[in-house]
């Protein structure tokens, strides 16, 4: 008897009332239970536990509540705490959350619960480390103590990322690494002007875009939209801040903006960077018109021309998007 014959026979018996739906369902449930029992003894990779979007959302909401609760509680009793308690409730608790997160990641790698604990710890550890620094009576005449502390936190999260290979840890490695870059510049060159920080932001933005390109198809893929967003926003934002002061940047900016549109389509294949580079082009055109044409042709005419130009660029960008990037981030 083949499968079709079995199913036809089952259908006939159900119609005839020789067998009830409850009995069939009970049979299926027992089969599933047997499968589950078997799987529990098998290696972890066979235990595929679906994590729904709602579950993940609840994890995140829970993590936010816990973090806010800890901060609120600490603030309420802060003045009554001694040095040890202050460090324990911030850095200590953060490290405990990180340790629990790592434990869950090792014990139950298929669920996101480890990431949730690391998420809470990730927000508490850097702040806790700085509070520890303050409580230990560090000298803040220079930013070196803060720089070295954040450097340690960065190394901590880089090692955790390397070990666990989880996106939440990459996120905190990136966050602390970015803060470290600014702090390092501040410590090494205390009198650096804002321009230097603009250029550093541009370079960090470019680095983010390279990371996004490399991470596209590996375990860090969920971080890629964030890297693309902050990378392109930081790059174009910082470059735009410079065009008011630097002639070279005023000349380079349109090339960077149009180059960004091309790179978005050809290399990064990203709608996020295409959108931001399109806004960068529009921002430049508005700046250029205001700076060089508004006085000669007058604002009304300039606005009309601007409007048509912006519509044209928008249409061009949407065409690129439809043609090349329909299914991309």
């Amino acid at each position: 008897m083949d499968n079709n014959e079995i199913l036809a026979e089952l259908s006939r018996r159900l119609k005839a009332g020789e067998i009830t739906e409850t009995e069939v369902l009970a049979l299926l449930t027992n089969e599933a239970q047997v499968d589950a029992d078997f799987t529990a003894e098998a290696p972890a990779q066979q235990a595929v536990v679906p994590t729904s979007l709602i579950t993940r959302l609840l994890f995140i909401i829970g993590a936010v509540f816990i973090t806010l609760g800890v901060i609120y509680l600490a603030a309420q009793i802060w003045d009554d705490l001694n040095t040890f308690s202050r460090i324990a409730i911030t850095l200590g608790l953060g490290l405990v959350f990180a340790a629990v997160g790592s434990w869950f990641m090792l014990q139950d790698p298929e669920r996101d619960i480890g990431s949730v604990f690391h998420g809470i710890g990730g927000f508490m550890v850097p702040g806790g480390a700085l509070i520890t620094l303050d409580e230990m009576g560090a000298n803040f005449d220079t930013s070196w103590p803060i720089t070295l502390t954040i450097a340690m936190v960065f190394v901590f999260y880089t090692i955790l990322t390397w070990y666990h290979r989880k996106v939440v840890l990459s996120f905190f490695a990136f966050a602390n690494g970015t803060a470290l870059a600014y702090l390092l510049l501040d410590s090494l060159v205390p009198l650096a002007y804002g321009d230097v920080y603009d250029y550093l932001t541009m370079i960090l933005g470019a680095s983010y875009l390279i990371y996004a390109h490399v991470f596209k198809e590996d375990w860090n893929a969920r971080l890629v939209p964030l890297l693309l967003l902050f990378g392109s926003f930081g790059f174009y934002g910082a470059a735009f801040a410079q065009i008011f002061d630097t002639v070279l940047m005023e000349m380079l900016y349109p090339l960077l903006a149009f180059g960004g549109m091309v790179a978005s389509v050809m290399i990064l294949r990203s709608r996020i960077t295409l959108t931001i580079s399109t806004f960068a082009v529009i921002a430049y055109i508005i700046y250029f018109t205001a700076e060089y044409f508004a006085d000669s042709i007058g604002w009304p005419v300039a606005l009309i021309l601007l409007g048509f130009t912006i519509i044209g660029i928008g249409y061009f960008s949407i065409s690129l998007n439809r043609k090349y990037l329909k299914s991309q981030t």
């Binding site: 005449d141 970015t178 803060a179 870059a181 600014y182 390092l184 510049l185 501040d186 090494l188 060159v189 205390p190 009198l191 650096a192 002007y193 804002g194 321009d195 230097v196 920080y197 603009d198 250029y199 550093l200 932001t201 370079i203 960090l204 470019a206 680095s207 983010y208 390279i210 990371y211 390109h213 490399v214 926003f233 930081g234 934002g237 910082a238 735009f240 801040a241």
Partner: protein
């Protein structure tokens, strides 16, 4: 090229780019600053109104109080009716406290001296020393860069020559937020 190698190179570039930039900025700032030196020491005065940290009218007081004439420091008497801050209290009766210091530029070290000791020096009151180094109040506005982090502003007194600058370790500078007007440069010491 092997895909893994290409990936490793790109990761290396992404990681090193900011570091290289920071190092280049550091080297181009640090090297000129280290080579910045002068053969001359200088004398300066500080002032406080007894109200920390800012003494808004000290600048006027130091200006009214000290002068260089024929290379010698003189302390002037304040006119009885002088009231710089227009608060109804003559400057003579305000709680201005001034001190004089000699700054050793080689050691970057200040030492308090008396008026009599200061008056022994032959002073050149131009801001630029005979070998081309100036004493300047410098202000770095780190607050307008985009978009993530806002840094506090940095300010203080520096030895400068062109774009090279070296921070001066003046008395009180590390103890209170140093206000530009608390300080008056009096002159380079020409005696060797």
């Amino acid at each position: 090229m092997d895909e893994n190698r290409k990936r490793a190179i790109l990761l290396g570039v992404a990681f090193l780019l900011p570091l290289i930039f920071i190092l280049v900025v550091f080297v181009t700032t640090y090297v000129p600053a280290q080579s910045l030196s002068t053969d001359f020491n200088f004398v300066y005065a500080t002032c406080t109104e007894g109200r920390s940290p800012y003494s808004y009218y000290c600048s006027n007081h130091l200006q009214n109080r000290y002068d260089i004439e024929n290379g010698r420091l003189i302390e002037k008497d304040l006119p009885a009716d002088l009231d710089s801050d227009n608060d109804g209290v003559p400057d003579r009766d305000e709680n201005y406290q001034t001190r004089l210091f000699i700054h050793d530029t080689a050691l970057d070290l200040s030492e308090e001296i008396s008026l009599i000791e200061a008056q022994r020096f032959n002073l050149e009151d131009r801001l630029t020393s005979p070998d081309g180094v100036s004493v300047e109040w410098q202000y770095a506005n780190g607050g307008n860069f985009f978009p993530f982090v806002r840094y506090s502003n940095r300010y203080g007194y520096y030895l400068t020559r062109g774009s090279a600058k070296r921070e001066l370790n003046l008395v009180n500078q590390s103890q209170v937020p140093y206000y530009q007007n608390d300080f008056r440069f009096l002159g380079w010491i020409l005696d060797r």
